[in-house]
Symmetry: C2
Subunit: 138 residues, 2 copies
């Protein structure tokens, strides 16, 4: 019994082929390419011969997000990308030249954010930090 099935059940979702396939795909993602658009997922499924509709991909990803299995990012306008929720929070560095996405976590920044928000009488619910970079030339 694959672990995906249990994760799905735990999330209150029936174990169906599209859900299992999509979850597998996200879990098997290379370290350097863990961020997928709905199209990416759709294309990958097509290529491995799975006959899943794009609408289903969107539905499944949205359900996964609601269940906390997946996190949705909006690095750029016009489309979302999804990545498997690995429990740990992290922010992103997006390379404008190569499109590469690097994850990072920095306690100094995290702490400072909480402080700034507190000072202004708010409670920090979530945050999004994206650093857009280019390879250092020299």
């Amino acid at each position: 019994m694959s672990s995906e099935n249990q994760e799905l059940r735990k999330a209150g979702l029936k174990v169906t082929l599209p859900r299992v396939k999509i979850l597998q795909l996200l879990e098997q993602a290379e370290d350097d390419n863990q961020h997928f658009s709905a199209e990416d997922v759709y294309r990958a499924l097509m290529e491995s011969g799975e006959d899943v509709g794009l609408a289903t991909v969107y539905r499944v990803l949205t359900q996964f997000e609601a269940a906390g299995l997946v996190v949705r990012h909006n690095f750029e306008a016009g489309h979302s990308v999804f990545e498997l929720a690995k429990g740990d929070h992290h922010d992103h560095i997006v390379c404008l030249t190569t499109g590469e996405v690097v994850e990072f976590f920095d306690e100094v920044i995290e702490t400072r954010q909480r402080q700034l928000v507190e000072e202004r009488g708010y409670e920090l619910i979530d945050h999004s930090l994206v650093l857009y970079v280019r390879p250092k030339k020299d």
Copy 2:
């Protein structure tokens, strides 16, 4: 001769009614409401009796962005908001309860960002930091 006209010329744009009106609107924005979607701008113009097409609003805002007069943000998926570029860089706190947007600038975070990117062999081109909050209940 209004200052808007000069700003437009400096940006290499002809002085036309839609451009002047939109620029005025952005400049006259209240301190607590400086972030407009294209729809917001369009609606405001309609209400003041100006007959400008939504397509033109998009075109003008995009030109303003290219000219550096305006900055575009994607706080949430599905639509952009624009604010007048005031020269200074700042980040945003978005209240999930009231929709309010507060600007802030923190040197500790700014410095740290540059550091993190350098360490990884990149050059920081731009960044986007949005803190999503709720009013502190007590």
